[in-house]
């Protein structure tokens, strides 16, 4: 639990004291979830839970850029896979490195790529950034496929340790706990952004970028902050993946499912607040797992796409928006 405590102190500093009760609440909920999982003791539940948590992180990361500033990143797989492959590389070079360090490195790598892409394309209209990210996914996949050190097109095997460090039990429990910690960090960050000057700057960009620029909002700098944070969290979400799947090849690491889910979940849940991606990830992730078990894995993939199209047409404010309208 030491790693968890470190992250929270880091996060508590970000929103100041106002955000502290929220962070404590998040930690309490996370601890309760983990305790319930331990008590339930089924490794299947941990495996499924890990995927849902991973999508909460991915969806929230996407939402920091997409939902708050309105810039659409289609290259989720690129950032996610950069995180995953940086773990493959680190694990080959320094197998003794603890997983949280690997996650940090993966996050920094993905964040830097986000900054670079953003720097080149964010000065133009938003669609050019979106198109560049689409192409980025293809080019990163090409690079990885041609890189023999990480297995190239054949893929790489990663040994999953048998026993979890610190907490004991199966290793998947450790992965679950780590991802739970990431969820706490990303949600605390997202909520802190929403309530800070940064968040108002983001919203100004989303609503009318020209007007924001004219009234002195440093739009490019804010957009770069959003892109770097968003890309970094996506990389962090991907970093533990090699240990989860134990075999990673470009085709599965760059599967379009990750991108579609990461975009569909915030849009379904609602892009205006940190809660939206959580609702979307839990609902869609749960539904997908149910369909995968009961019908087939091809159909479960289709669900996110169909739901996303249905929601953007019929309920553009997502599930959160439906409830907000009722309140008024």
């Amino acid at each position: 639990m030491a790693s968890l405590a470190d992250k929270t102190s880091l996060d508590g500093a970000l929103p100041g004291l106002r955000g502290l009760p929220f962070v404590l609440l998040l930690i309490a909920v996370a601890a309760a979830i983990f305790a319930a999982g331990r008590w339930f003791g089924s490794s299947y539940a941990f495996f499924v839970g890990y995927v849902v948590l991973q999508y909460i992180v991915l969806g929230s990361a996407w939402n920091i850029l997409g939902g708050y500033t309105g810039y659409v990143n289609f290259g989720v797989t690129a950032f996610f896979a950069i995180g995953a492959y940086s773990t493959v590389v680190l694990n080959k070079l320094m197998p003794a490195l603890p997983l949280p360090v690997m996650i940090l490195v993966g996050g920094v790598m993905a964040g830097l790529v986000g900054l670079g892409t953003g720097y080149l394309t964010l000065r133009l209209r938003g669609v050019f950034f979106s198109i560049a990210t689409l192409a980025l996914a293809v080019v990163v996949q090409t690079l990885i496929t041609n890189w023999d050190f990480v297995g190239g097109a054949r893929g790489a095997y990663v040994m999953r340790p048998k026993v979890a460090p610190l907490i004991g039990g199966e290793y998947v429990q450790y992965l679950f706990l780590i991802m739970l910690g990431l969820v706490v960090v990303v949600l605390a960050t997202a909520r802190a952004i929403e309530r800070s000057a940064l968040g108002y700057g983001f919203a100004a960009i989303r609503d009318d970028e020209a007007a924001a620029e004219a009234s002195g909002v440093p739009t490019l700098r804010l957009k770069l902050i959003a892109t770097g944070l968003s890309g970094g969290f996506m990389g962090m979400a991907g970093a533990p993946l090699p240990f989860y799947v134990t075999y990673l090849d470009p085709a599965s690491g760059f599967s379009l499912n990750y991108a579609v889910n990461a975009i569909a979940m915030p849009l379904i849940g609602g892009t205006s607040s940190w809660l939206g991606p959580v609702i979307g990830a839990v609902l869609v992730g749960g539904l997908q797992e149910y369909l995968r078990v009961t019908i087939s894995s091809a159909v479960n993939v289709l669900v996110a796409g169909v739901l996303m199209v249905a929601f953007v047409i019929l309920a553009p404010q997502g599930i959160v928006g439906l409830f907000q309208r009722k309140k008024r």
Binding site: A135, V139, P316
Partner: protein
């Protein structure tokens, strides 16, 4: 020395022919993105749909893939009209094109891909036609008909569309619609109807481009994604909406990819388009023949 010169010449020629095919792939986006300002990132999915229509026409009915694409043209046109109508009602009218409009097309792309996987599976599919295996030997170099036929039909299509856009009333209205909708109204043309026609046309070109694609290479549902980067690289490099610029850009990319594939290996070719796209966006976002 002699051998590498020969290699270079053949790479240039096949790159040029490939560029002609890329022009057919990109012209739909040149219309929808360049002229209508509709960012249809699902265009490659429609191209793939065209490939499978050609595949069905070829294997079930035994007709030429290009001919089956031509027969399917009206149906594909109406598919495009329908897609635009949904897009207009749900996003353009609400002024919500950027976030949700883009996600809508991304969803369409994904649904089409998974749908094709469910129907046809992930195996590579090919078509049969007399010109697919043959080559035209011109002494110095060889022209594979597999590339030459799509190149010629594609150029024909580009020229025909250019004439349609510059000579007819509807064509001129399409060119005007993104610039000044009010002026269009004053000319007694309904901008929405004009955009519907134009979008239908842009999707219809995907039907032919799809037939070319399956003639040139075996097709499976996920290869459409490789074309997103290419198509938009070509359109941006060509200067959005300019057909001559687009053709030049398509040839440039075709040659660059062909050279890369010849001298560095084919697995590097997909990265070329992205490089060109990034450099263009960073250095000259208006493209080579941009306004």
């Amino acid at each position: 020395m002699d051998a590498s010169l020969d290699l270079l010449l053949n790479a240039l020629i096949s790159g040029l022919l490939l560029g002609g095919f890329y022009a057919a792939v990109s012209i739909g986006v040149a219309i929808s993105f360049g002229l209508l300002d509709v960012v249809n990132i699902a265009h490659p999915a429609f191209i793939l749909l065209g490939s499978y229509v050609a595949f069905l026409g070829n294997t079930v009915l035994g007709i030429d893939p290009i001919l089956s694409a031509l027969i399917a043209l009206p149906a594909v046109y109406f598919l495009g009209v329908l897609a635009y109508q949904v897009y207009y009602v749900a996003f353009e009218r609400r002024d919500d094109q950027s976030l949700r409009g883009l996600s809508f097309f991304f969803g369409l792309l994904f649904i089409t891909e998974v749908g094709l996987v469910l129907v046809f599976g992930v195996d590579y599919r090919t078509v049969q036609a007399r010109y697919i295996g043959a080559t035209l030997n011109l002494g110095l170099f060889e022209l594979p008909l597999r590339l030459l036929v799509p190149f010629l039909v594609s150029m024909l299509m580009v020229v025909a569309l250019q004439i349609f856009l510059s000579r007819t009333f509807v064509g001129r209205a399409i060119q005007a619609v993104a610039q000044d909708q009010l002026a269009l109204r004053l000319m007694a043309a309904n901008p929405i109807k004009i955009k519907r026609i134009a979008f239908g046309l842009s999707i219809a070109t995907a039907s032919l481009a799809g037939a070319f694609l399956i003639i040139i290479q075996p097709v499976e549902p996920s290869i459409g994604r490789e074309y997103i980067g290419r198509v938009f690289a070509i359109c941006v490099l060509g200067g959005l909406g300019s057909f001559p610029g687009m053709v030049i850009a398509a040839m440039t990319l075709g040659i660059a990819e062909s050279l890369t594939a010849t001298f560095f290996g084919p697995s590097w070719a997909p990265a070329v388009a992205f490089g060109i796209l990034l450099v263009t966006l960073a250095v000259r976002p208006s493209g080579i023949l941009g306004r």
